[in-house]
Symmetry: C2
Subunit: 320 residues, 2 copies
């Protein structure tokens, strides 16, 4: 089964409602830029590349009006793909053609990332991954989970961290793996250290929401601890992301805006609350992994080992 | 309000049913050793010192029969306090008096731990803690959270990690803090690294389920990553536990049996399931933090800095 998170219908954008997975597979139809922005904010669609694609089609629905750009730009702050897609749309002569190109290029980028990344994966590797970086998070195929897909013939298996608070690992990555017959074990996020200490994971691969000019990586909250643990256990820590996730204008990770989301995501799940009334909550949605903890960044053009400012500058200057 | 997790009634042991917190405060009455063992296994009562106390009263209800010892010893494998309490009961002339002594000594030990530990806590410290180590986990007052209680006058605040999968932090620690007016912020476990990287936590303090002869600490799954992160950020990492948690017979942490609990704790919460059908699950309930990551162990007798085999041997040999 092929997962189609985003379907363009000419006068509407159909989004697979990821809030309802894995229980139900339902599509939400957006007919205005505002509806697309609402869908991004409320996590109907999530994942940095998928947000970029959805926003591009949102501009098409908004007929390129200034309001459509504004409302989409305000939907979520951290993933740079959103702003990258809006910038591309602003320069485009034909909005619909450009949005379709952004979508098709993301799909092609993911497949290239998968090919390049799969070369790094040893036979039979037990791959620890985080959040959802599969077809659902992109135009298709996926970034980090796309590497797993592309390496499937190597008899790899996945350890999926559940990814609190929004449970993208438990709900989405586990679902994609079950759909595709990729062996997958679900764990809570805090079990990764235990598994590493017992020699039960061979490498870590994650996606990214924004990569600063020096190689610092903003990604789903909880990524940074995995990188610290991987370093302690001498495991490779890979980041898989298309060039649309790179933000050359931001010098380092400390400048990346980190979204704080509603406390209800932490105090319970959907209608169920388990925390007591009156408790304070923090809910930052992303953290920053310093470049020095990243073994390599895998993009559609190259594998950049030991990423730093010079290597990323060289990557960007050679053209896409 | 004083939390009373364990009430001895002469012919019954009343246990505050911690599975129902924070929604409901209900007591479960146990009249046999089997019922106490079931209550321990099903987490009506949890926390290493509280398990030890409950097991002692379980032996009283079982009139010291061999079956009562056997059924209680099989209830949960990791917390050594359980076996320590059973050993004490085996040697006792008067079972009820011994069980009461175990309970009263635990309460006194917690208060002593609180006093000694509070001296280590700076004014206004933002204390990151894990799982529940409060009154609910002990005969009363608590171990790590007992140190926070004893340091309350220093205007400390708590960062409580929710502690997946069983949510002892979100349900129990948050509840105790709200009850007592201790400022407390709830976060998911994977946010600790972010808060440390932003300078928003000053120290970490946790409890223990078993401390090996060399100072390695088995504690709730997710403790080890916090110790690794604390080291990276040069934050003190304290372990607070009574002497009943020390296991001189186990050379190091690799020999501590780690309980694996049912997959349903990971795939959802109570009746709600969020993971897809067909997914594999791991659910180890504890991990091991190597002694080298522990700044100090706080017990009722002393603060043992840089714990190792020699220092723990010296501690134990000077008598309680």
């Amino acid at each position: 089964m092929t997962v189609e998170p985003i379907r363009w219908k000419g006068d509407a954008l159909e989004l697979l409602d990821q809030r309802e997975l894995p229980e139900r597979t339902v599509y939400l139809s957006c007919r205005t830029a505002q509806e697309v922005a609402d869908a991004i904010r409320s996590m109907v669609v999530r994942g940095a590349p998928a947000i970029g694609c959805a926003a591009a089609f949102g501009v098409v629905l908004g007929k390129g009006s200034r309001e459509s750009y504004d409302v989409l730009a305000r939907s979520r702050p951290t993933a740079i793909n959103l702003f990258w897609a809006l910038e591309r749309m602003k320069k485009a002569a034909n909005l619909e053609a450009e949005a379709k190109a952004i979508f098709e290029e993301d799909l092609a980028a993911n497949r290239a990332i998968g090919r390049l990344g799969a070369e790094l994966i040893p036979q039979g590797a037990r791959i620890l991954t985080y959040c959802n970086t599969g077809a659902l998070a992109t135009a298709g195929h996926g970034t980090a989970l796309g590497v797993v897909r592309s390496a499937k013939a190597k008899n790899v298996s996945v350890i999926a961290c559940e990814t609190r608070p929004y449970l993208q690992g438990a709900r989405l990555t586990a679902w994609e793996c079950v759909q595709e017959g990729i062996p997958c074990t679900l764990v809570t996020d805090n079990m990764a250290g235990y598994l590493m200490s017992r020699g039960e994971a061979d490498l870590v691969i994650v996606g990214a929401d924004r990569i600063a000019a020096n190689g610092d990586v903003a990604n789903k909250i909880g990524t940074y601890p995995l990188a610290v643990l991987a370093r302690r256990h001498a495991l490779p820590f890979y980041v898989a992301a298309p060039l649309s996730t790179f933000d050359a204008k931001i010098a380092d990770g400390s400048k990346i805006p980190i979204e704080e989301r509603p406390p209800e995501e932490v105090t319970g799940y959907r209608g169920t609350r388990w925390a007591p009334q009156g408790i304070s909550v923090r809910n930052p949605a992303f953290d920053v992994t310093p470049a020095e903890l990243v073994t390599a960044i895998i993009c559609e053009k190259a594998v950049v080992r030991d990423p730093d400012r010079a290597r990323l500058q060289a990557l960007m200057s050679t053209g896409v």
